[in-house]
Amino acid sequence: MAETKVLEKKESGLTFGKAERKLLTDPLDSNNPITVQVLGICSALAVTTLVSKAFVMAIAVMFVLAFSNLLTSFLRNSIPKQVRMIVQLVIIAALVTVVELTLKAVNYPIFKELSVFIGLIITNCIIMGRLEAYAMSNRPWRSFLDGIGNGLGYGIILIIVAVIREFFGKGALGGFKIFGPGVDFLVDTSAISWLSWYAPNNLMVLFPSAMFVIGILIWIHRSWNPSLVDIS
């Protein structure tokens, strides 16, 4: 008797149980949008030249993901099937425009740095991907969490790639010069005899390096997590 009662208990709105936590943690590892779902690669190449850019981009994508998931989930039963994708696009585009306008007002220099890439969030496959795969068939709170989770998964990879590219490409992190030739670096390699040959690798500043780094990250992630081997 007691068991049936428990099974019949309706799930209330904003719970945060095991299922919800899974929505946040899965995209960090076993369902990472970049290394496992292989979505959103384009922006991961473009904005990872600097850690600060990657960080702002990650926050922007997470915001758009979470709220477009939320809105789409609210509307999932009202959106006419004939215009499903168009409506999804409108939601995404509107949210991205909100982000753009806000960033332009709050931090103009970063806005100039990121320029077209904020607008290109509209084309980021992760967002459309999650809308179709999750928000169209799940409830709002969970869709929102799924958006946050995927945003976090995307953000982690972005920052890892940016750390590698900025450190080896410019010898800096977050603009702060750490390791390279010259007196303005924390560790001045030109002053250390056995490191005097060192010059930052300019290839790291160009897009192809991001492809190599992401490719290697995917390889490492799938080797480290045995459940991901050969899932393709």
Binding site: T49, P80, Q82, I86, T102, A105, L206
Partner: protein, 246 residues
């Protein structure tokens, strides 16, 4: 399956809502956007005289930038060397009527005799007078622009700052990002006797110590754009420079 009417209703309501929200946000934020853009442009102008500021421009707050800029004398001139008063600048479409409100992109499209150009007179921390002018041209993908600062002789370059719309990071974008590139311009001269020779960005390395700088590997077209932009852009200021030199 929804009926066509339902679809149209849904789409119309959604479009109207989105339009209202975005338009509203844009109108509300426009003053802030314009203010931010104006300060950003002033920073770029001050960056040309970075070495003569109380602190490097990247360390200055927006208020400090405005304060330093308020002490700069701004003159707007035409290519024939005559100056344009505030009403003239406003008539050209710039509501504030100041040199810093001029949109160089807009001026670039006008025929030479209609262009109005900004000049700035700045007194550095060293007590010396510097002149700053603005130039604009074309890089590889889209427009590039810059601010050139001169010492009082209106011949020796005291510093430059460049920017661009869409040049490639690591290549053309180096004109803005790489200090080793733009710091080369300091000390170069633009006049060879009476002739305006400007500065040549040479692929493969500068040959003349006074009038040439090293190019950027892999960014020849952008570098050529810089050379052209400076030669043409500075020629517009020649009559005015002559009038200043007396």
């Amino acid at each position: 399956m929804h009926s066509t009417n339902q679809v149209i209703k849904f789409v119309l309501i959604m479009t109207a809502l989105v339009a209202v929200v975005l338009a509203g946000m844009n109108t509300f934020l426009k003053p802030t956007h314009d203010k931010n853009e104006a300060v950003y442009n002033k920073r770029a102008i001050l960056a040309a005289v970075n070495d003569y500021l109380p602190s490097p421009v990247t360390e200055l707050s927006d208020e400090q930038v405005e304060e330093i800029f308020s002490k700069i004398s701004q003159t707007v001139i035409k290519v024939d060397g005559t100056s344009v008063d505030k009403e003239g600048v406003i008539a050209a479409g710039y509501k504030e009527g100041t040199a810093s409100s001029i949109d160089m992109g807009k001026e670039r499209k006008k025929p030479e005799n209609e262009k109005i150009l900004p000049t700035y007179g700045f007194t550095g921390e060293d007590g010396k007078k510097y002149w700053i002018v603005s130039v604009r041209g074309k890089g590889l993908w889209d427009e590039i622009w810059g601010n050139i600062a001169f010492e009082d002789d209106l011949n020796t370059i005291a510093g430059v700052s460049f920017d661009h719309k869409a040049e490639t990071p690591g290549l053309g974008a180096e004109i803005k990002d790489n200090k080793d590139f733009y710091s080369q311009f300091k000390g170069k001269k633009i006049y060879d006797g009476p002739e305006l020779r400007s500065v040549y960005v040479r692929k493969g390395g500068a040959k003349d110590p006074d009038y040439e700088v090293d190019g950027i590997s892999g960014a020849t077209i952008t570098a050529d754009g810089v050379t052209e932009m400076m030669a043409r852009g500075l020629s517009y200021y020649e009559p005015y420079f002559n009038s200043l030199k007396g």
